[in-house]
């Protein structure tokens, strides 16, 4: 029976983290040198953690599947990073960032974690400035801010529309420094395929060298997963094509609990899908909603070009439904509102999958140049993809899977239910509850990597009893055997369908039944369709080439095989949660006006799923106690 101990320090919220840091045991500098930590993934969380652990004196082995750590998908985050600096003196504070994040997450996250996140947010900005990140500045030389979806203060720091890129390159440069110092060994083009467990502790990983195809074991004293989210289970998403669930899913199968998998964020402002060959959805930064207005024609099936539709016949539906927040309503709410008008046949563009995002008013007020300076690169991107110029005609946008709040369960110290397995960044579930606010993912990734994990992992390493092991240990060999047999199984099917065709099919099932809105009937039918599809995959997939070679199709097929199992877990979670909260909207639980109905009496808990071979996953619950804030109806009206 799995025990969930969140290890949240008792006592006042404001001092929980300080007290935890003081009570933690430290590892002496001499001993740090003898300790190896594995970090998997080099996005914001992984790169910042690997660098900081190296600086502390640990030996770090760092892995990524990309050809360089700088290519991790954090690079694509556009809008910005939140911090409670209150430089604008507009009423911001740690408490307000905390409250906005808890409320934005629809009261499905832990108070203690979120408060700590808000506390360290200010340090992140200072650290990033010290690393040379060229944040936008005011004329006087001070840091500039903008406001971002779901909040009423300006607390977002940014580097044009490339904040994720700059923050990642900052963390990457810190990582480069530690590689040069000999503290971090970097292993790019290496994919984690399994976890090595010894005496119930995480002691290493099995990886495949993506160039030679060789499968090998790396052992360590602790393992940190910073492997990102799983939006690609939907096939079409805003994530990079390489982003995948394999590392966290494999860890789940070794006993790490998975929390709230059904909390998947659908971002409102992506470029609408085009034809069947489309491989990804491109995000248009949420910052566009600061100045752009969303609308559709009032009349259904109105196919006039936008400029021929007079103002009186337009429905600015976010401003109408949520007058207080208008176009800045949080992502889940905006996405559902877009879906609702499209379901009424008022969508625009091919197939009716789209709404207008219109800049005409701000261009009229502030001039073309100002708008161009603010969003130039996004307008260029839009034009390249669609062939249309957003300065002269409104953009068309449609929601797309973007971020996953769910992930491996971790305690306050970011350790999973497996001792020695730590999970940071998007890969864990901890801070965003049922919905993430804009510009908070960069904050969380860097908070975990720079400022939280390096403290908490020390306590584990100082107190855990760890026997010495190597690649020849029985458990290492067993893990290696699991991986090699799976690789050869994939290669030996030699069927007639490509892995992509299965991926597309499972993605469509999830998008239709476990996407922006869900219901019992659809989820139950999906839970019967997925095993059949998985069975066909293992009977009929075609993976050409060899195992001991550079083989991109083999990499991909392995990831698809995991999606075909993981998709079921997602549906189980969505089915269990008989309420609507945040990004999880169950059609059975809504008000007459179509607003979600949360059920705190039955579902104020984290749903924590345990793997059990041969049966359905087992549900455990971590109750969410709200000592410091009162859960309210999350209204943005």
């Amino acid at each position: 029976m799995m025990k969930l101990d969140s290890k949240i320090p008792p006592g006042p919220l404001e001092t929980k983290w300080d007290r935890r840091r003081f009570s933690e045991k430290l590892v002496s500098p001499n001993n740090k040198r003898k300790i190896t930590v594995i970090v998997v993934g080099t996005g914001l969380a992984g790169a910042s953690a690997a660098s900081t652990l190296g600086q502390l004196g640990y030996q770090v082995e760092c892995f990524c599947f990309q050809d360089s750590p700088r290519r991790a998908h954090s690079i694509a985050a556009q809008g910005g990073i939140n911090a409670a600096k209150n430089y604008q003196d507009d009423g911001d504070s740690v408490g307000r960032l905390f409250y906005d994040t808890i409320k934005g997450g629809d009261f499905r996250s832990r108070e203690a974690n979120v408060y700590r996140l808000a506390q360290v947010s200010t340090q992140i900005i200072d650290q990033c400035v010290a690393l040379g990140i060229p944040f936008a500045r005011e004329y006087g030389g001070q840091l500039a801010n903008r406001s971002f979806g779901g909040v009423q203060v300006s607390r977002t720091f940014y580097c044009r529309g490339q904040t994720g890129q700059q923050l990642l390159l900052g963390a990457y440069s810190a990582l480069c420094w530690q590689v040069e110092q000999g503290q971090v060994t970097m292993r790019p083009r290496t994919e984690m395929l399994d976890l090595v467990m010894v005496d119930g502790q995480a002691r290493g990983i099995v990886v495949r060298d993506l160039v030679t195809g060789r499968v090998s074991i790396h052992t360590a004293h602790a393992v940190v997963l910073a492997t990102g989210g799983y939006s690609n289970v939907y096939y079409l998403s805003t994530n990079a094509s390489g982003s995948n669930v394999t590392a966290t899913y494999r860890a789940w199968k070794q006993g790490a609990a998975f929390a709230n998998p059904c909390f998947t964020q659908i971002h409102p402002t992506a470029i609408p899908p085009g034809d069947a060959s489309q491989a990804k959805l491109t995000l248009m930064s949420e910052s566009l909603r600061n100045d752009g207005r969303l609308w559709v024609p009032k009349m259904a099936r109105d196919h006039r070009p936008p400029e021929d539709i007079p103002a009186a016949e337009r429905d600015y539906f976010l401003e109408r439904r949520y007058p207080r927040f208008g176009n800045l309503a949080p992502r889940d709410i905006a996405s559902r509102a877009v879906k609702a008008v499209c379901d009424e046949d008022r969508g625009v563009g091919p197939g009716g999958y789209g709404v207008y995002l219109d800049f005409a008013d701000v261009v009229a007020q502030q001039g073309f140049d100002v708008v161009r300076e603010r969003y130039g690169n996004l307008f260029d991107m839009y034009q390249r993809i669609t062939g249309e110029d957003a300065c002269h005609a409104p953009m068309r946008i449609y929601p797309a899977p973007h971020y996953t709040m769910g992930g491996l369960w971790v305690d306050y110290n970011l350790m999973s239910t497996i001792p020695g397995l730590f999970v940071i960044g998007e890969a864990n579930f901890a801070d965003h509850g049922a919905n993430r606010l804009g510009a908070s993912s960069l904050m969380q990734g860097l908070a975990d990597g720079y400022f939280i994990l390096p403290y908490t992992i020390g306590h584990y390493l100082a107190t855990a009893k760890l026997i010495s092991i190597d690649e020849d240990h029985r458990e290492s060999r067993a893990a290696l055997q699991r991986v090699t047999s799976r690789v050869s199984r994939l290669l030996n099917v030699r069927g007639r369908r490509t892995a992509a065709s299965f991926h597309r099919e499972v993605g469509r099932l999830l998008w239709n039944h476990c996407g922006m809105s869900r219901n019992e009937e659809g989820l139950k039918s999906t839970l019967t369709s997925i095993p059949a599809l998985r069975e066909e995959f293992w009977r009929n997939v075609m993976v050409p080439g060899l195992g001991e070679a550079f083989n991109q199709e083999l990499e991909y097929a392995g990831r698809v095989a995991d999606y075909l199992e993981f998709a079921e877990l997602l549906c189980h979670d969505a089915l269990h949660r008989e309420e609507s909260c945040g990004a999880h909207f169950r059609e059975e639980y809504q008000t007459a006006e179509g607003e979600p109905q949360r059920d705190d009496s039955r579902f104020a808990h984290v749903a924590v799923w345990e793997y059990r071979e041969g049966t359905s996953p087992i549900l455990h619950k971590e109750p969410l106690a709200f000592e410091f804030v009162q859960p309210t109806t999350r209204s943005y009206q």
């Binding site: 990309q66 944040f135 480069c176």
Partner: protein, 262 residues
Amino acid sequence: MKFTLNIWRQKGPDERGRLVTYEARDVSSGMSFLEMLDSVNQGLIAKGEEPVAFEQDCREGICGSCSLVINGIPHGPDRGITTCQLYMRRFPDGAVITIEPWRARAFPIIKDLVVDRRALDRIMQAGGYISVHTGGAVDGNVLLISKDQAETAMDAAACIGCGACVAACKNASPALFVGAKVSHLALLPQGKPERTSRVKAMLEAVDREGFGSCGNQNECEAVCPKRISVRFIATLNREYLWSGVVESGLPAEPESPHAESA
């Protein structure tokens, strides 16, 4: 639309490669170049043949993975974009398109269109950073940085490390890549303390990795997907010159009259 593709196929680093011709059929004009290659690959896989290996990841022009030389030009015919941002509407129906990998001695071919660009990481590891420990940084607003200075640093920092500059250069010089990083950090006060050691260490790494020297012909700027300006190569040269001045023992700053007594 329909296209004839001449694609570089090479089994491994030590094998001989050659151009192989494929037909791409039923291509729609709204398809991206990489989606067009995806569809060719799906056809090959369904026949049990090995698909064409090529790099891609974010497909929105920021990760720097994609790296194709299209009709002789890195990232294809349009300026200021990566391969993944190129759409088939850019080509006339029936066109013949030649697709090759980045070619440079420092970028050995791994397979087909995939090359090993770790040399760029090693240049960065030699000095492309500011050595600051996590924690203890001063408040971000303590360092005032003018808007223009921050914007210019950002122009340089926008480099995505794809290596197109190297692929376009007949000398296979990474001067634009190195110049962008050296300029970004030299322009900011935070980067000043390591200014001289950084530029030297990075340029030594360039030589070690087998890259060539800059010939000032600016092909790099022409193909750079982020339109990084060659004036950052000029900055790189100035920084290098300056590091030599400092090393030769000339005073970096006018000497303080109190230096002796201090």
